[in-house]
């Protein structure tokens, strides 16, 4: 199989939507089709008919499909200059609130929310901050909540952390054992991991900062607009929104609701 026709693709999306309640209609096709094809290769499903048949009849296969077609790649302190801006410009503003609430939407396996917890700890805000980290994929959330990461990644993460302006010894934030590390408990206690689907779920709290980085790249413009409205409704007046550094806010109907705080690092603020 090298190609999925639009009609077959729509069939698959509809089966997943009707049978399992996950709506991928607004996802961009180029990457999703590719991932479905790779999934078929990996699971030895040779035809689209077979895939549809199995999806209807086998919920385990669907669980695997979700794991495979959603992108679960993340890093600690990805784009170090972005974290420097958070540390120097955004968190000091949040310090004015007696209680701070931050939402990481689409947190994958949690590396970014742990990075945030480290920044909050270093700026003395962690004990009065509640971090909400959501993802649509329950397997991600399980891994994220465990706080266990491969030791191999720590060299890169330490480098990123230092580039972001971190001054502490990065190894203070985890305990290493064999091939893995576990993030220190004091960084994990303020984080609440839970399932939330940006497409179908709604506002559930009010936040001073929402981070949703490298999630929009998988959404088409209509879905981006829908989610930006959801974020607008979930932010307190003048609350911050951070997107990935190559993601844009150039969407007509919501553009006017936000002002730019830092253009290159894609940090925005809800207008009052």
């Amino acid at each position: 199989m090298e190609h999925i026709s639009d009609a077959d693709f729509l069939d698959i999306i509809n089966i997943v939507k009707l049978q399992y309640g996950y709506d991928f209609t607004g996802y961009v096709q180029a990457s999703l089709k590719r991932r479905v094809l790779r999934f078929m290769g990996r699971t030895n499903i040779l035809t689209l008919f077979d895939l549809k048949h199995q999806l209807v009849n086998n919920s385990d296969l669907f669980t695997q499909l979700v794991q495979y077609i959603t992108v679960n790649v993340t890093e600690m302190f990805r784009d170090p200059p972005f974290y420097r801006t958070l540390r120097e410009d955004v968190l000091p503003k949040l310090a004015a609130y007696p209680n701070i609430k931050i939402w990481h939407a689409g947190c994958a396996t949690g590396e970014e929310v742990y990075s945030m917890a480290i920044l909050l700890q270093e700026t003395g805000l962690l004990n009065r901050t509640k971090l909400y980290a959501s993802d649509l994929n329950p397997m991600n959330l399980e891994r994220a909540a465990a706080g266990i990461l491969p030791l191999d990644n720590m060299k890169d993460y330490t480098y990123n952390y230092i580039q972001s302006g971190g001054l502490a010894d990065f190894s203070n934030y985890y305990t290493a054992r064999y091939d893995n590390v576990i993030i220190k408990k004091e960084l994990r206690t303020q984080i609440n991991f839970f399932q939330h689907n940006l497409v179908t779920d709604t506002v559930f709290n009010e936040f001073q900062l929402i981070c949703c980085r490298n999630v929009f790249i998988y959404f088409n413009r209509d879905l981006q607009s829908h989610v930006l409205n959801l974020f607008y409704d979930s932010l307190s007046p003048r609350g911050y929104l951070a997107l990935g550094i190559k993601e844009s806010m150039r969407i007509a109907d919501v553009h006017g609701k936000f002002e730019t705080v830092n253009g290159p690092h894609k940090i925005y603020r809800r207008k009052v």
Partner: protein
């Protein structure tokens, strides 16, 4: 009068920076066909690669969902795969490394083949792994043109040689010949 191609994709890794600069300097400042460059480079380092590649040409790292426009030079942003949607806009992807690389040349070449078919030109330069070879073959299979830098002349021959080994009809050209080819065929 429109030339033979609607997109030029150029991939390179180790040893490609210098030759890529020569190609860019050899091309006219005003080229109708958009040029998309995919280079393997470090992932979390601030860089001015666009300026390094050419002092004269404006080379931009596209943002997600940006339309691909004629007369523009683009460079794949670090730490993303650069994909192309059916409506000829860029889409960034932050999925697993492909051939140990992100951006992966294969990913972009493969999209160019799918979206542009026979009107895609792919060029694979020096490099020390085989990323780009499969993608170049997809461009050729879709009716487009695939060029590999002459491995004899490349600082690292693995990358262009893998494309030559993997499929037929890869044009093997030196850097000067690549420049001439682009100028005469676009």
């Amino acid at each position: 009068m429109k030339g033979k191609y609607d997109i030029i994709t150029i991939g390179g890794s180790a040893g490609s920076l210098v030759v890529l600069s020569s190609i860019l300097d050899g091309l006219p400042d005003l080229m109708r066909v958009p040029v998309v460059i995919i280079l393997h480079r470090l992932r979390n380092v601030e860089s001015e690669m666009g300026h390094l590649l050419s002092a004269k040409k404006l080379i931009r790292e596209p943002e997600d969902k940006e339309a691909i426009i004629d007369y523009h030079f683009y460079l794949a942003p670090q730490n993303y795969h650069l994909m192309i949607e059916a409506d000829k806009s860029f889409m960034l992807d932050y999925s697993e490394l492909v051939n140990y690389s992100r951006p992966s040349i294969d990913m972009t070449f493969s999209c160019a083949a799918e979206v542009y078919g026979s009107r895609a030109l792919g060029i694979l330069l020096s490099g020390a792994n085989k990323d780009g070879a499969a993608g170049l073959c997809q461009i050729i299979a879709a009716g487009g043109t695939g060029i590999a830098q002459d491995p004899q002349m490349a600082a690292f021959e693995v990358m262009p040689q893998s494309a030559i080994d993997l499929c037929q009809n890869v044009k093997v050209l030196t850097i000067d010949e690549i420049i001439k080819f682009i100028i005469s065929e676009t």
